[in-house]
Amino acid sequence: MTLSPGTRVRARLADPDHHTRLPAYVRGQTGEVVEAAGQWPLPDDRARGIRPPRVETVYSVRFPAAALWGSGTHWVVVDLWESYLEEDMP
């Protein structure tokens, strides 16, 4: 999966019982890829001692405040590993 800037994506609703860097406040929310932010080991694998951990592209994804909180005009940009995301098919 390669996501170019502007691609609409949805953060997964997963609620794993292990460590993850997918913040609860964006789960299930739709945002837009700002840019790819490098390739990094998946924190979920590292925290569970899985060796070698999966290495994935991390994407900076921006979410509109109104979608996250029901109000506000700001953007929140969150860095999300590829497996936290799915393309948002309209």
Binding site: P23, G38, L68, G72, W75, V76, V77
Partner: protein
């Protein structure tokens, strides 16, 4: 380590964690001490200020800084790429219509070497939860009241991707030398909770 904090309850927990790490063979006491010593030896917001001042003074440097924060920091002698503790440095520029602000909602990720040890409020639950939800109100509490038309962008950091705000150059500073410009920049300006 951290003898000055030895009596603090958190220090006891940290020491227990260190002992588990050492017992598991992941690192030695000396390695942990050396890592912290290296991290804090030159960590200061003066480093971030120098980067900002150079960017204000040199448009070519500013362009390189926005394209590749790590490489531009290295030009000034700041190494952000230590094996095992390296990270991508992303510099986000304030413009007349946009104001950037940094938070780490899940913990307290922060470019320590460029900004110095993070302030306690940066690690507080209040800042971490409110910055993403009501940044305009949080900024007002810091004394920064932005025009209602200013677009606020909040960047939620991770250990792998950390941010530095490039404040807008204040008006009336055209004649200043780079060192004088650097003296205008504050740590809070680099986090985005102050204008400069």
């Amino acid at each position: 380590m951290g003898a000055d904090h030895a009596g603090h309850p958190a220090a006891v927990r940290v020491r227990q964690l260190e002992e588990q790490v050492i017992a598991a063979g992941l690192a030695t006491d000396a390695e942990l001490d050396a890592t912290l010593a290296r991290l804090y030896a030159h960590a200061s917001p003066l480093n971030g200020s120098r980067i900002v001042a150079r960017a204000w003074a040199d448009p070519g440097y500013a362009a390189r800084l926005l394209a590749d924060g790590n490489a531009a920091a290295a030009e000034l002698g700041f190494d952000t790429g230590h094996p095992g503790s390296g990270y991508r440095l992303k510099v986000v520029p304030n413009t007349p219509g946009t104001h950037n602000m940094i938070v780490c909602t899940l913990c307290s990720c922060y470019p320590v070497s460029l900004l110095g040890p993070s302030p306690s409020w940066y690690k507080s639950l209040a800042y971490r939860s409110r910055a993403v939800r009501e940044p305009r109100a949080v900024l007002a509490e810091f004394g920064l009241r932005l025009p209602s038309g200013t677009q606020i962008v909040v960047w939620d950091a991770s250990a792998e991707n950390r941010f530095l705000v490039l404040p807008a150059r204040p008006p009336g500073t055209d004649g200043l030398a780079e060192e004088e410009l650097a003296a205008l920049v504050t740590r809070d300006g680099l986090i985005g909770t102050a204008a400069v």
